[in-house]
Amino acid sequence: MVTREDVENIALLSKLFVPEEELDGLTKSMQEIIDFADAINNAPADGEGFDNINNLSNVYREDEVVPSYDCKEILCNAPEQAEDHFLVRNRE
């Protein structure tokens, strides 16, 4: 069972702000998603070939260097940065 607390917790981990009035709706939606996943989990899939239904194999890149991104671009979405590094604050 998905609870309101689960949704709040996941929102926190995902760094999303969820207004109070949306919590009930989201709890219901999330329960439906879990139910759907459970239904898939229960489908018989013991046979061969279920992990590669598009029958693709050996999709490779050649070992050729392409220019990397500028450090500034790499860091532009970082919540915090220092000295050209991603900065992870110690919570204590």
């Binding site: 992990d51 590669n52 598009n54 693709l56 194999s57 050996n58 999709v59 490779y60 890149r61 050649e62 070992d63 050729e64 260097v65 392409v66 990397s68 991104y69 500028d70 450090c71 790499i74 860091l75 979405n77 220092a82 000295e83 050209d84 590094h85 991603f86 900065l87 992870v88 604050r89 110690n90 204590e92």
Partner: protein, 470 residues
């Protein structure tokens, strides 16, 4: 009671491909922080990893070099864990269908350390802990690794050291990695347990993480063996846990116990398709492998008559063995070639780094010419030695220092004359020898060698002089 050490290794080796495993960023070591990165290797949502073909080839090479079986079908899995060294919160690795199954590393005592498997995966980024915070550099994130997982077949610290050295040697020979432990391109996790000698049952093991030098591996294992033995002797029990080794104090300490061990929730990575390895490709790669150090060692000792100790020195680095092979072409005495390399040339390549580079002034072909002169009896060993020194000083060939007059050796008549002259001109030495001073004989032989400009056969001269004065 006597206790036996039991250890298994998980060895991470960075492959020296030009680019990362799933994107085209360079794998060069170091660089300014976060300058070898792109959206794929910093794990931005919506990016698609694409496997580097060369990583698969390098891993197959590595697998063949340690006698592993190359899987026909391999797959990539996600190993989920949340730590800032991986931006995606999972590492792409292999669990259910690794590329290489089995294999072994043979040690000099004849024991084979069996391998469980070898898989490919991506390296994590580098964390720098300072001012109480963590600074993350993803340059290393996504660099291709192979992880070589051994069975718990190692029974001593010496075996452990040799196992790591052998892996290092063979991986360098086939050129898949530089295996520099100090730069982190080779790192070991050591699983270690103890059991009463003669027992078949494995004891509870601990795992020492991320060892980055052979010395530290030995010290950490020694400490851990003592600690576990003492614990059992005093009635305690070893707890299964992950340890870190502290170099400064020479002790291990707990990182986490089995209770809070990770559940990685491995599952197939849906972004990466199945890897099918054709048997043709495997054979093609097998054919491209150079002669491996163990094979060379066997050939040197069994076919060329090189003593084991010398063969070990010659096969330690690929460049030395290739130098030796080239210098041996068509010579009668491979032993002479070996002696010149281990003697004169090694004196000028003192450090391990120099030996690995093996950048010496004399080319293999030049040594080959010198040894052929020696083989044919045109020059004697002494002259060959002093000539080699001159060649090493100048980079010039043997014939720049040896004239026609030097060659041709000394026939029996000439030798007799030289010996007579030596005896006549050194009455004191003759007297000393007659009075039992064996050493005095050396002075007389030295005189013959000097006057023949090194061409005389010292052994024959000694016999002749003894005849004359004995």
């Amino acid at each position: 009671m006597k206790y036996e050490l039991v250890a298994g290794f998980e060895t991470h080796i960075e492959l020296s491909t030009k680019t990362k495993i799933f994107c085209g960023c360079t794998t060069q070591f170091g660089g300014e922080p976060n300058t070898h990165c792109c959206p794929v290797c910093i794990g931005l949502p919506g990016t698609l990893p694409k496997l580097n073909r060369e990583v698969v080839r390098y891993a197959i090479k590595a697998g063949l070099a340690v006698h592993g079986e190359i899987a026909e079908i391999a797959k990539m899995d996600r190993k989920n864990y949340c730590y800032p060294d991986l931006a995606k919160a999972y590492q792409i690795s292999q669990l259910y269908a690794p590329l290489i199954i089995g294999g072994y590393v043979e040690l000099s005592n004849g024991r084979k350390i069996r391998l469980h498997h070898i898989h490919i995966e991506e390296d994590a980024g580098k964390l720098i802990h300072k001012h109480g915070d963590t600074y993350v550099d993803y340059n290393r994130g996504g660099v291709p690794l192979i992880e070589i997982v051994s069975e718990p077949d190692i029974r001593s610290i010496d075996e452990a050291k040799e196992y790591v050295e052998r892996l290092q040697q063979v991986m360098r020979y086939i050129g898949v990695s530089d295996c520099k432990m100090q730069e982190g391109s080779m790192r070991c996790d050591v699983n270690i347990s103890v059991r009463p000698e003669g027992s078949e049952k494995l004891g509870t093991r601990t795992e020492i993480k991320n060892m980055n030098s052979i010395n530290n591996i030995a010290k950490a294992m020694e400490y851990e063996f003592e600690r576990q033995t003492d614990l059992i002797e005093s009635g305690g029990k070893v707890v299964q846990e992950t340890l870190r080794y502290d170099d400064a104090s020479g002790t291990t300490s707990s990182m986490r116990s089995k209770e809070d061990a990770h559940d990685y929730r491995y599952f197939r990575d849906p972004d990466l398709v199945t890897i099918n390895i054709s048997r043709e490709e495997v054979e093609e790669i097998r054919a491209s492998l150079p002669e491996l150090p163990a094979e060379k060692f066997k050939r040197y000792t069994e076919e060329l008559g090189i003593p084991e100790k010398d063969a070990q020195l010659l096969t330690k680095y690929r460049k030395i063995s290739e130098f030796f092979d080239e210098a041996c072409e068509g010579v009668k005495s491979a032993k002479s070639v070996s002696n010149f390399i281990i003697g004169q040339i090694f004196r000028r390549t003192e450090t391990e780094a120099d030996k690995e580079q093996f950048d010496v002034a004399v080319k293999p072909k030049q040594l080959n010419e010198l040894v052929k002169l020696l083989d044919s009896g045109k020059i004697r060993n002494n002259l060959a030695k002093s000539t080699l020194e001159k060649m090493l000083d100048s980079g010039k060939g043997a014939l720049d220092f040896i004239s026609e007059a030097d060659m041709g050796g000394v026939d029996d008549n000439a030798l007799l004359e030289l010996c007579k002259a030596a005896v006549e001109s050194n009455p004191k030495a003759v007297e000393d020898f007659k009075n039992g001073k064996e050493k005095a004989l050396k002075a007389l032989v030295g005189n013959v060698m000097k006057n023949s400009r090194g061409k005389a056969d010292a052994v024959a001269a000694e016999a002749k002089i003894k005849e004359l004065i004995g």
